[in-house]
């Protein structure tokens, strides 16, 4: 922005009597609240909670079906997946999940859900149409993070206690490789081109970038926030922009989201959000980033064009997962 352009813009805003309306954003954001057993519906334009949907106990993992008409929510303490109809905002169905589902991922074709069963060291493969578990894959202790390659052929699961990223062939349901990462891996995320997998290690305090083909560690990203003790930096949620330029990592009790240059792996900035920021979601136009802040019971909204957190909105108890519908 040139100086004169900036001045003109400020002048124009002044003429408008500072009626600086937020750009109309039609996003609808859905947040699973682990402790209040609800899903909050937030209007992206007004940035207010507009509805609250009752679901089963301990909702955490949350994702859309392929055409975004339904939402699947892992309700861990009820050992199932609740299905919410987006139009009526009601739970209309349920799917089996295996015991204590925490996090899952939808395969790119939209037919299956791969569910991490935290308590019995298993990944369950759920067929959505028939509502049946069609496969179980034995993995490491306390499976959690789930990522699937864009072509749907490789599934990556992380096990929190074994400290591994397991690469699983989705056809044979067999583990094809294991990559050791830092302590307590939480989230696995493929890059848009499918070449790399980013894995966050909560206790290790790092993010490992793994080459998806060779399964070798390419880079390990560390974090340091001024005034925040090292042990409070606990990376969890990861979001990567589709152009492969930027990455965002939630740093848990450090109350910060790290903004990373996804090409050089350099941390550019830390953005202050609510307490114990857990998971992240980019808006479909990638102009905004939404965070869930588990301890302060709210979500923060980041304007990525202006590079700043614009608002924090109270949602339910211990917000955990977040997804965005355009």
């Amino acid at each position: 922005m040139s100086l004169t352009g900036g001045a003109a813009r400020i002048g124009a805003l002044a003429l408008l009597g500072f009626a600086v309306a937020q750009p109309a954003q039609a996003d609808t954001i859905f947040v699973s609240n682990e402790k209040s057993n609800t899903v909050s519906v937030v209007d992206g334009g007004k940035l207010q909670v507009v509805a609250t949907i009752k679901v089963g106990r301990r909702p955490r993992g949350i994702t859309f079906n392929e055409d975004m008409t339904q939402i699947f929510v892992c309700v861990g303490d009820d050992n199932r997946i609740d299905v919410i109809d987006v139009a009526t905002q009601k739970v209309v169905d349920r799917l089996p999940s295996g015991p204590d589902p925490e996090l899952f991922v939808l395969d790119p074709q939209g037919h299956r859900l791969y569910v991490a069963n935290e308590d019995d060291n298993m990944v369950s493969v759920v067929d959505i149409a028939t509502k049946k578990i069609i496969g179980e894959i034995q993995v490491g202790v306390e499976p959690e993070g789930m990522g699937v390659s864009p072509d749907g052929k490789i599934l990556v699961n992380t096990s929190e206690t074994t400290n591994m990223a397991h690469f699983i062939d989705t056809e044979s349901h067999k583990i094809v490789d294991n990559v050791l990462v830092d302590a307590r891996p939480r989230v696995a995320q493929f890059t848009g081109d499918g070449r790399f997998v980013w894995v966050s290690s909560e206790v290790g305090g790092t993010v490992s970038v793994i080459d998806a083909a060779s399964r070798k560690l390419v880079h390990k990203i560390s974090f340091a926030v001024q005034g925040v003790p090292r042990e409070s930096i606990q990376p969890v949620g990861i979001q990567l922009t589709s152009d492969g330029q930027r990455a965002f990592v939630a740093l848990g009790p450090a109350n910060r989201v790290a903004e990373i240059d996804a090409r050089t792996y350099e941390v550019k900035r830390y953005h202050l959000v609510g307490q114990r920021v857990w998971n992240l979601a980019l808006s479909p136009d990638e102009k905004r980033l939404y965070t869930t802040n588990g301890v302060s019971n709210d979500m923060s909204v980041m304007d990525l064009e202006r590079g700043r957190v614009v608002k924090s909105i109270s949602v339910g108890g211990a917000p955990w997962g977040v997804i965005v519908k355009p």
Partner: protein, 271 residues
Amino acid sequence: MNATLCWRCLRAVIVREGLRFVHQRERFFAALVRPLVWLAIFAVGFRAVLGLSIIPPYETYILYEDYVTPGLVAMIQLFNGMQSSLSMVYDREMGSMKTLLVSPLPRWYLLVCKLLAGVLVSIAQVYVFLAIAWFWGVQPPEPGYLAVLPALVLSGLMLGALGLLLSSFIRQLENFAGVMNFVIFPMFFASSALYPLWRIREGSPTLAWIAGINPFTQAVELIRFALYLQFNGTAFLAVTACLALFLGGAILAYDPGRGFWARRGGPAEQG
């Protein structure tokens, strides 16, 4: 009172105040260094103080640097207001005030000119400070820099008027130390400049009450809200009322016929 004369007088006072400011480089740096020291040193130790709550006008979590900046802006204006009053005492001691006082314009108009000149200088200081703070990472919404201007004018006038009123009581330059001790420090510390009122209330409800009625708190909040594009009606009314009170008092005090001067034997004997 004709317009040309009024304008010429106002311009003369503003130019003089501006010249004084530009020529005294130390004063310019002192005015800038003071808030920057607070921002760069004091604020670092308090980064996490506000991590737990969101208070208006903020809509999300902020660092202490963000919180303290409007308070430091008001501090610039407070010091400037007091320094302006100091210069009145100086002018009186040096006799240069007589040049102004022989003007045929009414005394109240001369005071208002003096006040406006001081406010202009303080606003220039504030914007330089805000520009440096921007590089420090304190980045309020861009239109806020414009929205804060009317708030700065009002709070600057109020604090300047307070300085004028005080200056009418001070006989000698040396007494300015008393102003520091009894006016600037209490006003600054017992306000919402450094900590939000809810945080002061946790420590001492009495202090929080005092801070709440402190005109300086109202100036800080007026600036804080404006910088974040919100209007604080209470603060606006409080600052306006204080301005009327202080300016009225100063005009009365400087009135050669009625004011405190008359009772003390008149300005002529002061020089």
